[in-house]
């Protein structure tokens, strides 16, 4: 990352706001055990405590559990699922996209038809069905999210590979007799890193939304407190206790917003031409 890039990113107000939001949430997740040493599943006070009463910042739920503690511990699940499922999806997407773009021919055709298919079928329904059948756990959730997320990235990487393969420096490397692995990893891949990074940052946000939606439906990991689960369990008592669904939902909103802002900031910083256009 060069200086120009960092300067462009730092000058982007939205991206800085995003970075601060996400930074704070990461800190809360890291220090959840110090901020709220007791388990978020344990009773911390009277049920239905209003926010701010009896030392509970965001109030308590119907079983007297501290909402603030749930949010702090839930941040871990959200970030963990967001990050790991993105890593899995990026690995699969980049590998398949590179294979398709570099080899072309029937391999390209087959992979792209496969990707198209995954973009057509209703993603969320597939995630729900998969997680329900393989019993909800962090592993099944992460895998299911990765399965429905890799396709757009594969298409993107394939496009980059196709256009870069015909460039002189790659042709020169081929003429010199360098191995395919060297050409892919040393010449082509580094040149399409920026769109991959931008997509990945947006993908983390989508994965967090997906995980929260699963937990909302009761398909979260039963051993981990998560934001979607908190909103889901608050649904039935919405009239008595608005804060039970309000604060966890706000946490999701802020995290996803922060990640989207960072993603856009990265995109703008990687493409100075686009940035000027947008300002015009």
């Amino acid at each position: 990352m060069n200086k120009d890039f960092c300067r462009a990113f730092a000058r982007n107000k939205g991206a800085m706001v995003g970075l601060i939001i996400v930074g704070l949430i990461v800190l809360v997740a890291l220090f959840a055990d110090i901020l709220f040493p007791a388990s978020p599943w344990d009773m911390a006070g009277a049920p239905f405590t209003h926010p701010g009463d009896r030392g509970m910042l965001f109030g308590s739920d119907m079983l007297g559990r501290d909402i603030a503690s749930g949010i702090a511990h839930g941040a871990r699940v959200s970030l963990l699922v967001g990050l790991t499922s993105t890593i899995a999806a990026v690995t699969a997407g980049v590998t398949l996209g590179a294979l398709a773009g570099f080899h072309g021919g029937w391999i390209d055709d087959a992979i792209m038809r496969f990707a198209e298919l995954f973009q057509t079928i209703p993603n969320f329904v597939l995630v729900v069905v998969t997680v329900a059948i393989f019993t909800p756990s962090l592993t099944s959730i992460i895998l299911a999210i990765a399965i429905v997320s890799w396709a757009p990235l594969a298409r993107l990487v394939r496009g980059e590979f196709l256009s870069l393969s015909s460039r002189e420096f790659v042709q020169a490397a081929i003429t010199c007799g360098q191995s395919n692995t060297t050409i892919i990893f040393r010449h082509i891949l580094p040149n399409c890193l920026s769109p991959i990074i931008v997509s990945a940052s947006l993908m983390v946000a989508t994965a967090i939304l997906l995980e929260s939606s699963l937990s909302f439906l009761g398909l979260g990991d039963p051993n981990a407190m998560s934001w979607g689960f908190m909103v889901g369990s608050a649904r039935t008592v919405l009239r008595q206790a608005w804060w039970m669904s309000f604060f966890p939902g706000l946490a999701i909103l802020l995290t996803v917003l922060g990640l989207n802002l960072i993603g856009e900031g990265l995109n703008d910083a990687f493409n100075p031409r686009l940035r000027r256009q947008r300002k015009a």
């Binding site: 298919l117 973009q119 057509t120 209703p122 329904v125 919405l238 939902g249 909103l253």
Partner: protein
């Protein structure tokens, strides 16, 4: 062969391939599920003794080789047999058909609302680029893009049903009110407002952002300058020249996102107890009713494909350059 027919055939073949893969995926999911399917089914039926399990195994051909099983599975689906839900004691296909109209009504209304409002907002933002209306639309789009759809639903219920008491919080109609004719229709419409707005809001944001970018791009092209030089009114230029071109990428994205729209309806229906496929899915999840879940996956895939063909036709209608062949 007429071009439109060729196009339609082409699309139908593509649709059949996608459906074929969905069926195979469904089949594999049943078999990849942990545990013996016969035991699972027996458990669902509430009787897990050995005799019954054996009976199920031969009834469903689970003792035959996998490819034969796949063949008979496909055969059943072609005949409209999507399996039997032991939990609900009814064939899956019937359960799904009962719920389909409510989901179609919800998703289609939300889609139309999102498209109209989103495109309008996008144009307003692009025409006023750099001014406060532009910033407002951008911020609104960013916010609704990041908000979990089910949470939006709950917050809208909190404001418009619980606090203001303007709109009903859940259901499809007022139970036991006995409305007839127009009053019945109006009652359903009142129930539809919050779910439709909830589902539509997210896509409105997507379409607004896309339209804004697309209008800005088209507006700098030569034919727009020509139109302006010819002295056309700004309104004519925007609606007649710019929008007609700018809306095309928006429609493409709308078609691609049809699947997400239907997925979103699962969450919205859960929040509003809307008696559609989504609500059925939620119940199936709670009861671990796999046959029903796989049926939902199949039917929603069909819905997405129909939706895609519709957006393709709409595309061709707007852009005469697209000959209906690809």
């Amino acid at each position: 062969m007429p071009k439109s027919l060729h196009f339609l055939l082409n699309r139908l073949v593509k649709a059949a391939v996608v459906l074929g893969v969905v069926v195979v995926l469904n089949f594999l999911l049943i078999h990849a599920a942990p545990g013996d399917p016969a035991v699972v089914m027996a458990g669902e039926a509430g009787a897990a003794d050995q005799m019954f399990v054996e009976q199920l195994r031969s009834q469903f051909g689970l003792d035959r080789p996998l490819y034969e099983q796949l063949g008979s599975y496909v055969g059943h689906i072609v005949q409209g047999d999507l399996g039997f839900s032991y939990r609900q004691q009814r064939p899956v296909a019937g359960l799904l058909l009962d719920r389909l109209p409510a989901t179609v009504a919800l998703t289609l209304s939300a889609f139309v609302l999102a498209l109209i409002c989103g495109v309008t907002l996008g144009v307003v933002a692009a025409v006023n680029v750099g001014r406060w209306t532009d910033s407002l639309v951008t911020v609104l789009a960013l916010l609704s893009y990041a908000t979990p759809i089910y949470w939006v639903g709950l917050m809208l219920v909190l404001v418009f049903s619980v606090n203001l008491g303007w709109l009903p919080a859940f259901g499809f109609e007022t139970v036991g009110a006995g409305y007839k004719g127009w009053a019945w229709f109006a009652d359903i419409l009142r129930h539809m407002v919050l779910p439709v707005v909830t589902l539509g809001l997210f896509y409105m944001a997507v379409y607004a952002r896309m339209t804004r970018a697309s209008v800005l791009e088209v507006a700098s092209m030569d034919f727009v300058k020509t139109a302006r030089a010819k002295g056309q009114t700004e309104w004519n230029i925007v609606t007649g020249h710019v929008l007609r071109n700018a809306i095309l990428p928006v429609l493409t994205v709308a078609g691609v996102q049809a699947g997400q729209l239907i997925g979103g309806s699962i969450l919205v229906e859960t929040v509003f107890a809307w008696p559609g496929l989504g609500r059925l899915t939620f119940d199936a999840v709670l009861q671990r009713d796999y046959q029903l879940l796989l049926g939902v996956f199949f039917v929603t895939s069909v819905l997405v494909i129909v939706f895609n063909i519709l957006t393709d036709l709409l595309y061709a209608l707007i852009d005469p350059r697209v000959e209906l062949v690809r």
